[in-house]
């Protein structure tokens, strides 16, 4: 359903220097698939996600979604950012309502759906608080609910749990899998945590250091629904993590840390 075809991106700096960020990336993601993109920081993995989102235009190549070429953002592809990007002047309810209002949902229906979503991300009772009054984990829950509100068929998650402490991160990973199990949206998930990628994904795409190229795609053949506690003891899980970590190390070899 998502087809990334020979996408490259070169940024032009103010001094007219050309910085290649992505180099000839091709990748196909099937409907309902959970794919993680894993790479060292600065390898352009977030840029790739922004290109799929239609927020950034590629320098070469194209992205198509269901056969349609991506030329800009669309409610079909919902982003979730590491920085949450919540609207600070809106309450939790207001943030979740935003997309419903843009979709022209009648107010009563929108309110009901927003409350339902807020309950789903375990924030019932927090509807009237402002984002600044919430913890990082709660903010990301609001951001996920805000994006789910307009029913995108694809979720584009840009290191969504990267700014959270280990405990919160684990809880949100579990909750994300729970939500995903219900309607199996297509997810493109950028992260630099190998364990997170293996735990969540059907396939893990590894990238090289900048300018980012595809390095290797690893299918994660672990049963679902997954439980973190069980997986940590599972030999196959450990093998995936160790194998991919070795692969990442070899990507870094010779390059300055």
């Amino acid at each position: 359903m998502i087809a990334i075809e020979a996408v490259s991106k070169t940024f032009e700096t103010e001094k007219r220097r050309r910085l290649p960020a992505l180099c000839d990336i091709s990748l196909a993601v099937a409907a309902g698939e959970f794919v993680s993109i894993l790479g060292p920081s600065g390898c352009g993995k977030s840029t790739l996600l922004y290109i799929v989102g239609g927020f950034v235009a590629p320098s070469a190549g194209a992205v198509t979604v269901n056969g349609q070429r991506v030329t800009g953002p669309s409610p079909d592809r919902g982003p979730v950012f590491q920085e949450f990007a919540l609207f600070p002047w809106k309450t939790v309810l207001g943030n979740v309502m935003y997309g419903l209002q843009r979709q022209g949902v009648a107010r009563q229906q929108a309110l009901a759906r927003a409350r339902e979503l807020i309950a789903m991300v375990h924030l019932a009772g927090y509807e009237n608080l402002y984002p600044k009054e919430l913890s990082g984990g709660m903010k990301q829950r609001v951001a996920i609910a805000r994006t789910l509100a307009y029913r995108p068929s694809i979720l584009l998650m840009d290191e969504p749990f990267g700014a959270l402490d280990a405990h919160t991160r684990t809880r949100l990973q579990n909750d994300l899998l729970d939500i995903w199990e219900r309607d199996r949206k297509t997810v493109l998930f950028v992260t630099h945590s190998v364990e997170e990628a293996v735990f969540l994904s059907d396939r893990v795409v590894t990238m090289t250091r900048a300018p980012g190229r595809l390095k290797q795609i690893i299918a994660i053949d672990l049963p679902r629904p997954r439980s973190r506690a069980a997986l940590l003891l599972d030999r196959r899980f450990q093998d995936y993590v160790v194998g991919i970590e070795r692969l990442m190390d070899s990507a870094d070899s010779g390059a300055p840390a």
Partner: protein, 258 residues
Amino acid sequence: MRARSGIATVVLIGALPIALIVGVWHVLAATGMAPPSLLPAPSAVAARLVQQWSSPAYLEHAASTLLRLFAGFGIAVIAGIAIGVAVTASRWVGATVTPLVRVLAPVPKIALYPAFILTLGFGDASKIALVVADAVFPILLATAQGTAAVEPKLAWSAQAAGASRWRCLLTVVLPAALPSVLTGCRIGLVISCIVVFLAEMITSTDGLGHLLVRAARSFQTVDMFVPLITISLLGLLLNAGFNAVRRRLLAGFPETTE
């Protein structure tokens, strides 16, 4: 509640230098170091102030000043925000307006006043025009800067939710830039107070500035201080009102010092 005693302390400390100035003024007047014909005693000014504030004629002058101030400031806010947003939104508008602003912003607008009088007449219009000309720039610059600095991911989140470019601009970019926009508006408000008074001092038949000049020309020093104190208190009141509005509008934003 927790901040109640803190606010009282701050107000007290803030009132101290003002009390000091009035104290020195009183001593200068009472000891005769400054002749009463040039520097009236603060008590005399205060008595006259109370008397004037209950005089309909005086209040009419104050009302004309306020009308010009609000009209000028209001137009400056609308124009400043509209142009500021347009500068960020459209590369074409930005390229046309930015050089114009760079040329016009440093010009002392008071120099345009004779031209305003010639084209708009001696009435309210020329004074309002001068207030607009002076107050619009800080608002415009703060809006352009604030909207340009808005985190792109906020706009992306809105566009992915289905907001058009214009929708996104009005419902996300402008609200996100509000702290900066309101800082520009506050500067614009102070400038409006100064400029409306100045315009009335230069050419007017009514208003607080006119009263001051009229009193000065006839050496009525007590009457000279009354409009001065009135505009200063009005400024204080307007600023307090502005801050109340600001606090409401910025309820969700992280706290900033005022």
